[in-house]
């Protein structure tokens, strides 16, 4: 397989371009303060809708991402407000982290090598964004040679400075083309600047399904 085909296989374990619906539990520790969020995400290609389910004081908040146009709505707020991609969802989780992953489409492999992570032989790909729609400018991505899933990533700014790292677990399974495939169950993000700032995202109830355009339409978004 070519590096791009390996990337595409790894993407299958982190979402689907046709559409996915899942629930994510986010635990964030930032500056010593803990925060928990549960969100339900409907995502397709570059669009996603995140609905906050818990805790009670954020229930009903919605984050709509239409490609790079992003809108935030909440029950008390009269109308949705436009926000920039830089605005964070919770803790160290970027808004792009909650949607399905399309690294094969968003990034190109500029360098490939091999390394071992936790005793597991991995491809190590140096990825750069194809265009500015991608969440990150540059990623170092370790993909298990045996399981064909991403196990570790480092995220870099345009200036080449690493700003966060992530590890991935795959304890769920979904069926693709009648074949069971491991599916992402956990992503742990650690700040490269403040190591004690950690965001844990637990993915559950993943369902691959076609998400209609209406889900991502601002005119139909109820508060």
């Amino acid at each position: 397989m070519t590096p791009q085909e390996i990337l595409a296989k790894a993407d299958e374990a982190r979402g689907n371009a046709e559409g996915i619906e899942w629930e994510i539990g986010i635990d964030s520790v930032e500056g010593g303060k803990e925060q928990h969020r549960t969100i339900r995400v409907s995502a397709r290609s570059f669009n996603s809708l995140a609905e906050f389910l818990a805790p009670a004081n954020v229930k009903g908040q919605k984050l709509l991402m239409l490609d790079r146009n992003m809108w935030f709505a909440k029950p008390g707020l009269s109308k949705a407000v436009p926000i920039s991609p830089r605005q964070k969802l919770v803790g160290g989780a970027a808004n792009g982290d909650i949607a399905s992953t399309n690294y094969a489409g968003d990034y190109k492999v500029v360098q490939a090598s091999e390394e071992t992570v936790g005793g597991e032989k991995c491809h190590l790909f140096d990825l750069t964004a194809v265009d500015k729609r991608a969440t990150y400018d540059r990623i170092k991505y370790w993909i298990s040679k045996e399981r064909l899933v991403g196990v570790k990533a480092e995220f870099y700014t345009v200036s080449g400075k690493m700003f966060k790292t992530a590890t991935f677990e795959y304890k769920q399974s979904i069926t693709i083309d009648d074949q069971p495939r491991p599916f992402i169950s956990k992503m742990v993000i650690t700040s490269a600047v403040l190591k004690e700032d950690i965001t844990t995202m637990v993915y559950r109830k993943a369902v691959l399904k076609k998400i209609p355009d209406a889900t991502f339409n601002l005119n139909l978004l109820t508060r």
Partner: protein, 450 residues
Amino acid sequence: MKPYHYRNSLLSTLVILYAIFLILLPFASAETEKESAPDGFQKFLSETFSWDLRILPYAVIQEPAHSTQNPGNNFLRLPRYSTNLELRPDLRFKTDVLEMLAKPRLKLGIDFWQEGIRRGEKQESDDAYLNEWLARWKARDNLFLSYGRENLQWGPSYLFSPSNPFLLDNGRRNPYLEVPGTDFARLVWLPTGSWTLSLIANTEEGRNKQPGPDPFEKIYALKIDYSGRENYGSFVLSQSEYGRSSLGFFGGWTVSDAVLVYGEGVLANRSKALYIRKDGTPLGATFQKLRQDDPALAPTILFGGSYTFESKGTLTLEYAHYGPGLNNDEADLYYGLRRRAADAFSAGGGLSGLGKLTLGQAANTGLRFLRKNYALFQYTQQNIYNRLDLTLRWTQNLDDASCQFTSLVTYSLGNHWELFSVGTMNGGSKDSEFGSLLDYQWMVGVQYTF
């Protein structure tokens, strides 16, 4: 004050809604708390019905400005203090083809007066109402029909939303005060993922009662929305039943991860707003609808942009030119007439009634802003130490130099409780826009979300 039987009927309606809500509550709770799947009707309810409830006890402290708009606080009779309790349940029902929403509200309050003719008085109030409701039917995957009472807002701007012909208030000054809903019929068609066409009509004024003697006016609008990769744009063509037409528009561009720029505006004619005409009446001038037959288009345009810092904070700047607003000469006439009306009102006697009528017109001219040029500066930072949300907003009237400073602060006290504070300070002379009504207002309270 509402007639007793009307209030009684509203309270009865609310009691019935709360009863339904309490009956459905255990089923809805099962959606999030129980993993074991219930059967039959219970399962159907748990999958389709959801709700949340916000309880807001809060107090408002404000100081009426000593201005010619409200001489001695005898005209507007603004209370100095008020304490309130609001219950705001939101009930939702959603199946694949039908979506329903209801937002019944109960508000209890006590107002206290310290200035003016009502000095030393207090008044209790209670109000039960349905602020918003909606029934939406999915005729096809890309075609939706809805009817209901909505707070229908759009556009990216903070200062105001000129492209919206239906609602003057975009609700952003104080997010803890709800904008009253208006009754709308809507048809929304999505020919592609990028384009949306909406036909919108306001069928009744609902709870959004407009001040002044004018009757409710139906407006019909065609809204066309486009959403691209990193930009969006909309046109809103509207026509009122009395012949006023307007072309609203807004658009935005995500320039980079951190930078957004946007614009919003409207071209409108035949304004119903009141302007001043000098004449031989006892006050020397009167408010009249001088432009209601004027076919010329008055432009209103707003430009804005925001920058999000690496440290999470977002700075927003907006400039607005409000075409229908008063120029310097018109403003001089306005304040001159208002001063004479205030003197007549305060003096009593034969001209007092005319003074009162004129002050009422001065307070509700039908203009969204009094003057033409405005700027907004805003700094927002969310989730400071995972607890604190902060918004600081400065609004500047560039024509009369008056200003308004607003601070919005919320502090999370766990998963259900939140402290909030909305403070507003107005600066400017007593014959200026922001200096006319209140010197300051501070709303402080807690919100419990169930």
